[in-house]
């Protein structure tokens, strides 16, 4: 390419200050109007909603609890995304479907436990058993996907890995549909599931606490693994610079497989908890939460473990509270239909203001 020709024609001689200013102004004006619009909706809507006093403290608390619950599931899926991205720079598009494989296989065990009465007699053991199967399946599929589909692209730049990941996603969905059918199946109820603590008029369902606690615990464990084990050090080294890591004698293959295993484990746990809270499993169930979780990972700063966690919670809460808080007040009909609008606007706003996500600084700079 003739760099000089490009340079001389596209800026140099003919670029005047006036043009420069005009261009600057247009983009700035557009961005500022976007900010003002979003702020106006947020502030106007919030004031409007609060004036209406349609929702009391109990309702707001419920909204936040619901948000935190689904957010903790997003967070757990996002952890898998973030791990894999950190090490391979690969958007594992199929990660949501890996969660589906775990949840789906867990379903058969959970219903068997339910029919035999084991679930009622030993709920903890039954849930642990279901978790174990789910984790085994999702981890093996994650590792297999890496081995078969992703490994050949380890050194390929460009979009081929992303397309492969999309292919893996379709393949997993359709395989499970072919094997188990397209009907909606549903997890059995745990008999203590409806139980809740009541504190000062606010209800906190036990299952929500369990899910949230488990997500936080997984994040802590993951954090410890990454920062305080030998393998974790290797993971960080590979994610920093895989060639240099290889020169230092790190077995990159092992690190990558281990990373996918961690992602698979997270997906397996997330799948079972998702299914115990939201019950339904079917072949397509992983797609939407997968995309949301990906958004959450980017929101928090992809590649960062605490970032994925915070991104997940944040996204969950905004999705739950946002429609009522922002849209109710300015009279927009059917606000919950626009839930994804809020989620993605939030994502884009974060990317404009903090292009590297809430907690991701190191990553993105080097990435570009």
């Amino acid at each position: 390419m003739n760099g000089e020709a490009v340079a001389s024609d596209w800026s140099g001689s003919r670029r005047t200050l006036r043009q420069f200013l005009a261009r600057l102004t247009f983009v700035d004006v557009a961005l500022w109007s976007l900010r003002i619009l979003v702020l106006a909706v947020v502030i106007g809507g919030t004031i409007g909603t609060l004036i209406k006093t349609r929702y009391g403290l109990a309702q707001w608390f419920d909204f936040i609890m619901f948000g935190v619950t689904i957010g903790s599931i997003y967070a757990q899926i996002a952890l898998g995304y973030t791990m894999v991205y950190g090490v391979l720079r690969l958007i594992n598009f199929a990660h949501g479907d890996i969660m589906m494989t775990g949840a789906f296989s867990g379903y058969f065990l959970a219903t068997a436990f339910d029919r035999s009465g084991f679930l009622a007699a030993h709920p903890v053991l039954a849930v642990l058993g279901t978790l174990l199967l789910s984790i085994t399946v999702s981890t093996s599929i994650a590792v297999l996907a890496e081995r078969i589909a992703y490994r050949p692209f380890r050194h390929v730049r460009g979009l081929a890995p992303l397309i492969t990941a999309i292919g893996v996603s379709f393949f997993l969905e359709q395989t499970f549909r072919g094997l188990f059918g397209s009907s909606v199946k549903s997890y059995p109820d745990l008999h203590w599931q409806r139980a809740a603590f009541v504190v000062g008029g606010l209800t906190i369902p036990k299952i929500d606490l369990l899910v949230i606690g488990c997500a936080v615990a997984s994040m802590l464990v993951l954090y410890l693994v990454i920062h305080h084990t030998k393998m974790g050090t290797a993971i960080r080294a590979v994610s920093e610079d895989s060639e240099a890591a290889a020169l230092m004698g790190i077995d990159v293959n092992r690190v990558v497989v281990f990373t996918f295993m961690l992602g698979g484990v997270m997906a397996g746990i997330a799948g079972v908890f998702y299914a115990f809270v939201f019950k339904q499993v079917y072949f397509y169930m992983g797609f939407t939460p997968g995309i949301k979780a990906f958004g959450a990972a980017v929101l928090g700063g992809i590649g960062s473990v605490p970032g994925a966690m915070i991104g997940g919670f944040f996204l969950g809460i905004v999705e739950s509270v946002g429609p009522s808080l922002f849209f109710d007040g300015i009279g927009i009909p059917a606000p919950y239909q626009l839930r994804d609008l809020i989620a993605f606007t939030l994502l884009i706003m974060v990317l404009i203001f903090r292009p590297n996500g809430l907690l991701g600084e190191r990553m993105a700079k080097q990435r570009a």
Partner: protein, 420 residues
Amino acid sequence: MPQLFRRIALPLIASAGLLASAPGGSSGARAETLGPVTDPLGVLKIPKGAPIQIGGYWVISGADAALGTDEVRGVQIAFKDHGDRIAGHPVKLSVEDDGCNAEGGQTAATKIAANPNVVLVIGPACSSAATAGAPILWKQGIMDIATATTAPALTAPTRKPEYDGFVRTIYSDIYQGKSDAGYVYTQLKARKIVTIHDGSAFAQQLAAVMAQNFKDMGGTVLSVEAIQPTDVDMHPLLTRIATEKPDVVYLPIFVAATAQIIRQKKEVSGLESTIFIGSSGVMAPDLISAAGPAVIGFRIGYPDVSPDALGKGYGAFVAKYKDAYGEGPISGYNANAYDAGVLAIMAIEKVAVTAADGTTYIGKQALHDAVYATKFDGLSGPIACDSHGECAQFKPAVYEYTNADPTTFDIGKNPKKVFP
């Protein structure tokens, strides 16, 4: 950018004059005489031993696959009941996937219409597919008998002549919405409702028709809510609805989202005494397995298909269905599809002329007229088309689920008929 303009636009303008118009050449239907039959739209010739080819287009992929598959089976059973033969020829039903959208319906219909031996088409399940597909078929003089497309516009008196070839063995949303509103207002004595739709054309339309009728009766529609069909966390929406304290929530949406809503309503305070009513889209055992015990008490506005009202054969039909496919009906429109199959058989046999050498001739206009003129008592009620293609007669009923075991699904028992 003058340089860009020079490079691109100028040569284009220069060559614009050279562009010739695209060659035309539409075939379409035209008058012809074959054998003993003369018909203004053309005549189909079926040699001895050749099959009568029936086209079909339904959604058999994606999230709504159960809807279309169920109807394909209904038509297959209708043909099987008739010995898989029409007018002395074997029947061949070729089904295409329309993906439940307009472009899918158009492509599927084009594929079917390209086969000049297709006698008649049954399907689809989705109104968007029918809107795009039916005119293509009728352009070739092919009749289309739809099985679950409920959009009022398709059989409105104002419909365009290109829809002349379109009839349906299912009632319009207008009747369903009106009857549901009447039930809620007069039977349940409810005055305040909320509707929920999922952004599908069917649910949005039915919810709107019902709400309009309810308002006209003097009731109040507190709000019109909407969700995405893939949403799983309905708690915030239900919390919001609970603050309005509605008597009834009307949600004519599909299995997955309905199950999430009726499960999660138990976890939201303030909705304990609210009645939830759905529609034909969830008249399926799948709903029971998806919703679990929460399904008990959930009601569905649906035509009256109990043996005493009509369709004496429905029980036997379900038995045949189970025998053939290893499971009970998986969606709500199999009886309508069965009737579409019967309507097709009766109309074809009425106009088919078989010559001495065994060749059968069918006039297209004659078949069109025969479909409109055929009357019989079907599984889903009496079938008789009016001049705008509405063939089903709607007898309203409401059903309520009483058992959480999917194997007990049996329209009339579980869900049990609670009205009339």
